[in-house]
């Protein structure tokens, strides 16, 4: 952020009075521009013993498999966002069962929310952000080709919880040290 979205003049980073964090503040009109984490809402679509995964057409992680999910939009509930993304990425008709996993990813200021959802029919197909959409039973899951840790963890919990048919909501954190030096 370099310019004030209210008046177009340059902004500087400073700690506003009564605050304790650096914010972008307009040098001219003094408007404070807060920046906050974003929510990614998605579904775990379930049909009998199978789950629906989408092969990503876009970066990051193009070619890897994911659950349908995307940024929550203003004016949506989290469930509405999860349903919309499932329709957009997999053209799939689902019915929300309940919230299932919630992940904080503080290194990228994101919060993921996945709902368990019942796939209503097999009339699904790849949306523009997917190259393929398929149903997988547990032993068919391409574990080494999943797009993100939140996908792996949500699927692992699901197949584990399915044994007892109880699906407690899980609030989990994925902590990544961005300052870690890569191995030589």
């Amino acid at each position: 952020m370099k310019y004030c979205s209210q008046c177009g003049k340059p902004v500087s980073q400073k700690v506003p009075e009564g605050d304790n964090r650096l914010r972008y503040v307009c040098d001219e009109c003094e408007h404070i521009h807060y920046q906050n984490p974003r929510i990614i809402a998605g579904c775990l679509p379930i049909l009998e013993e199978k789950v629906l995964l989408c092969k990503r057409a876009i970066e990051p992680r193009a070619g890897y498999w994911t659950l349908p999910a995307g940024f929550l939009e203003n004016g949506e509930t989290t469930a509405m966002g999860a349903l919309r993304e499932t329709r957009e990425e997999a053209n799939a008709n689902v019915e929300i069962i309940d919230i299932y996993t919630m992940f904080s990813l503080p290194h990228i200021s994101q919060v993921y929310l996945f709902y368990r959802a019942r796939l209503i029919d097999t009339d699904f197909s790849a949306g523009v952000e997917s190259t393929d959409v398929r149903l997988f039973s547990e032993h068919e899951i391409p574990w080494d080709q999943l797009a993100f840790p939140v996908i792996t963890q949500t699927l692992r919990h699901f197949f584990s919880d399915r044994g007892s048919d109880t699906f407690p909501v899980r609030s989990l954190d994925i902590i990544v040290d961005r300052n870690r030096k890569p191995l030589a």
Copy 2:
């Protein structure tokens, strides 16, 4: 939003290619400025049969009672945000038990998350955004002086669930018709 935060030139509302929503797009550099819902994280601090409430020093709803909660900051997990707000608003030492309620408020593009939390000691006091902080047992709760529906619903669920000592996570929506005409 009137100006581009990247280059300072005016923005217009248009639907970007491949999108289906109006966004603020820079007339000059074509940067797309997405706007997304914000997360408010908080705690339901519990000590024996009592819960901790804060009397709001600030608008909206100054003078009404609330649970300690506030906007999640970049770089925080949802639990870290809930703990920070509890410290800032009530100077209270709590230990997170588990996520408890999640509310979507689409009319204001907010998502609330409340954690059940154990109050570790009674060394609490009003922070700058509170005028009073007190422990309330169920029959002492000022139900008609609670600040927001999310507070009322979280407390009602808690006192109800306490009977069975099971606290299922609840994902709830608060739908408000902003276009409703007030009664004459």
